[in-house]
């Protein structure tokens, strides 16, 4: 991909200056070497594409902001309930799971009322799964954008992640309300939730980048994703606790970073315990490895996305 020079690009003056002003035009063209030089070559898969890509992404940070904002705006346009939907979805799921897991069967929650228990698992899970399911469809939703205009394509999946993160924050308020309602103590351990969510966002971004790039080529990804996410949800401790899993399977379980992160999140919020350091560092490692790989794959396939979409 290309190597635009950021610093020089920012020096290009705004055109609040009149273009027809001959004097201004002359001074503008005088420092000829100040212009950014961009070289376009055939695509190649290399680590340098990551750095160049990130640099371009920083240049387009305003687009990421605008697009994320509008994702939220558009989603609730012409809907009567509007922003309440961000809270309604986890609440409805909480209701149904509470009905199943308290009336029909029961799970060990460590003495915590089941609604709070399941809500604390649903909260990060919904963030993760909506990010992925929206991002995977996002790139192919408006093919015109990909074939007619250029901007770093990763902005589309990333904007869905930021939109989901906002929904997560809204639903967190409900979580607080539930805890007050059930008279559960809030400890300083809640702060552990922040690094956990950062790791989760990193992992969700990696998965979203990889699968959305793949979706451009093979629409099978989009068709399989809802099913895959449903299965995935039951393989991680959202509706049940890690304690319900037979001990010999637990280490296998924690290989999936989402399991470890959700368990850590729940522990920090409702049990007020410090997350297991070994589990967290394993999750961190997975994120650190998967992110550059997914991003490099995305950037190398971006070069021909417009041709195959």
């Amino acid at each position: 991909m290309s190597a635009p020079n950021i610093t020089a690009d920012n020096e290009v003056p705004d055109s609040s200056i009149k273009d027809s002003d001959g004097f201004e035009a002359a001074t503008r063209l005088a420092p000829a070497d100040g212009r950014p030089v961009k070289i376009i070559r055939p695509p190649s898969f290399s680590l340098s594409t990551i750095f160049i890509g990130l640099r371009t992404l920083v240049q387009y940070s305003d687009l990421l902001y605008t697009l994320s904002l509008f994702r939220l705006n558009v989603r609730y346009k012409q809907s009567a309930l509007g922003w309440t939907w961000a809270a309604l979805q986890p609440l409805a799921l909480m209701g149904i799971y509470t009905l199943i897991f308290t009336r029909i069967t029961s799970v060990a929650t460590g003495g915590v009322p089941y609604p709070v228990f399941v809500f604390s698992g649903l909260l990060p899970w919904i963030f993760f799964s909506t990010t992925i399911s929206n991002a995977v469809q996002g790139l192919v939703l408006y093919p015109n954008l990909l074939t007619k205009m250029y901007f770093p394509r990763e902005i589309i999946p990333l904007s869905y992640m930021i939109a989901s993160l906002t929904d997560f924050c809204i639903a967190s308020v409900i979580m607080g309300g539930l805890m007050v309602h059930y008279k559960m103590p809030l400890t300083w351990h809640v702060l552990y939730a922040i690094p956990i969510i950062v790791l989760m966002a990193g992992f969700a971004a990696a998965i979203a980048l990889f699968f959305s790039a793949l979706q451009v080529r093979f629409r099978d990804v989009g068709l399989a994703m809802p099913f895959l996410l449903q299965v995935w949800m039951f393989t991680v401790p959202v509706v049940y606790s890690l304690q319900s899993v037979p001990p010999r399977f637990r280490s296998l379980y924690l290989l999936d970073p989402i399991s470890g992160l959700i368990e850590g999140f729940r522990g920090a919020i409702i049990h007020g315990v410090t997350p297991d350091f070994r589990v967290m560092s394993l999750c961190g490692l997975v994120v650190l490895v998967s992110w550059p790989l997914a991003y490099a794959y995305f950037k190398s396939s971006e070069a021909t996305m417009a041709d195959v979409i």
């Binding site: 991909m1 290009v12 055109s15 609040s16 273009d19 035009a25 950014p36 687009l63 417009a306």
Partner: protein
């Protein structure tokens, strides 16, 4: 300084063999390799700073591929392109719009997609709204806009970009005449301020008017590179010849007579065809069988697509009788009334009011400035000056008394 440099650029597209569906994995293993298509083959050209380059060529010649590579939408298969300066592309100006968002929100979104900063957009917002003429509808979702408003808003945003190099792809084909004039004015303004422009269009008149230099593309290769008028001439010859060839095979049996060529000439004028001077148009034909009541037509169209004038053999006495064979019909105009410009020419042969052969865009006619004319036509005239000497006011009063 060179702003754009294309060096040995090629672009290959893979063509899926069974329609546009990807092959199923089980058939792919046994299938032969899919077809290939070279959209660009070893293309070399340069654009200097402040130059306006026009790219012409028939559909599928590779014009849009050049645009896509330049704007970063796709990458070349081989070769290298150097771009010096900030580049902005005006390609189908409203593709970045979201129907649910209001005009104002779309300005922010589309502007950001074109690479503008939010602060920059905020500063230019009023000017963009004013240019687009959308006015108070700026707070209405764009899905409620008329298609004209949509496109005008799109162009208004793009026109407020401040690039060093501007790519224009068929953007002037939209909007009403007044808005088109506004766009051309804005582009001319950008040109004057020293921007480099790459302009892709089928509107040869616009290429002729806007560009310093043009290149002709055909099947992914650069056929010629030079002054716009020379390149346009070459393109027209090529497209006329090409069109004749293809219809020869297809319509040989169906067509009883064909237009085989047209020549415009200006007798005794070394300066070419000029307003107010003689023009001779010679239309060659080939008749395969006798054509009763034949009428020839040479229609001149404005760049906007409206019929400007027609040379025709039609008369109240009916047409002429054509025998099988070849020949030509020659129209002689003592003083050409149309003003300087480039006209699209359609050719037609009719028999008993029925179309026998019709060549849309069969040729173009370029008229150079000749006698002084403003407006659309030159009116041949003779004038004399009749002067009445003014009398002093007092003299009139005196004689009245």
């Amino acid at each position: 300084m060179i702003d754009l440099n294309f060096e040995r650029v090629s672009k290959k597209y893979k063509l899926p063999t069974n329609g546009d569906r990807p092959k199923r994995w089980y058939t792919r293993a046994f299938a032969r390799r899919s077809g290939q298509m070279w959209a660009l083959r070893n293309v070399n050209f340069r654009v200097n700073e402040g130059e306006a380059l026009g790219i012409v060529g028939h559909n599928g010649a590779g014009k849009t591929t050049i645009m896509k590579i330049l704007s970063g939408i796709t990458t070349p298969t081989s070769g290298e392109i150097t771009i010096r300066g900030r580049l902005a592309a005006l390609v189908e100006v409203s593709s970045g719009f979201h129907p649910e968002l209001t005009g104002r929100e779309n300005i922010y979104l589309h502007g950001a997609m074109l690479g503008m900063r939010r602060s920059e957009i905020r500063k230019k917002l009023d000017s963009i709204v004013e240019f687009s003429g959308v006015g108070r509808y700026i707070e209405v979702p764009v899905k409620r806009y008329s298609s004209g408003m949509y496109v005008r808003l799109g162009f208004a945003i793009a026109a407020h970009l401040d690039p060093d190099i501007l790519l224009l792809d068929e953007v002037l084909a939209v909007g009403d005449a007044a808005f088109q004039a506004k766009c051309l004015e804005r582009i001319a303004e950008l040109r004057k301020s020293g921007r480099t422009i790459v302009f892709i269009s089928h509107d040869l008149a616009a290429v002729y008017r806007l560009c310093d230099r043009a290149i002709l593309l055909s099947h992914g290769c650069v056929l010629s590179d030079g002054a716009p008028r020379q390149v346009i001439d070459e393109y027209q010859q090529m497209s006329f010849a090409g069109q004749g060839d293809s219809t020869n095979e297809e319509k040989e049996s169906a067509t009883r007579a064909r237009c085989t060529g047209i020549e415009f000439s200006a007798p005794d004028s070394p300066l070419g065809i000029r307003t107010g001077y003689p023009l001779v148009a010679r239309l060659n034909y080939k008749a395969l069988e006798p054509i009763p009541d034949a009428v020839f037509r040479i229609s001149l169209y404005w760049p906007s697509g409206y019929l400007c004038a027609q040379l025709t053999t039609e008369s109240v006495n009916g047409g002429c009788q054509l025998e099988a064979g070849t020949g030509f019909v020659e129209f002689q105009c003592p003083d050409l009334p149309v003003v300087a410009g480039l006209y699209r020419v359609d050719l037609a042969i009719e028999s008993k009011g029925q179309e026998v052969d019709f060549r849309q865009r069969g040729a173009t006619l370029r008229v150079e400035p000749g006698k002084i004319a403003y407006g659309d036509f030159f009116i041949e005239n003779a004038w004399t000056l009749h002067h009445t000497p003014a009398l002093a006011d007092g003299a009139i009063l005196k004689s009245g008394k």
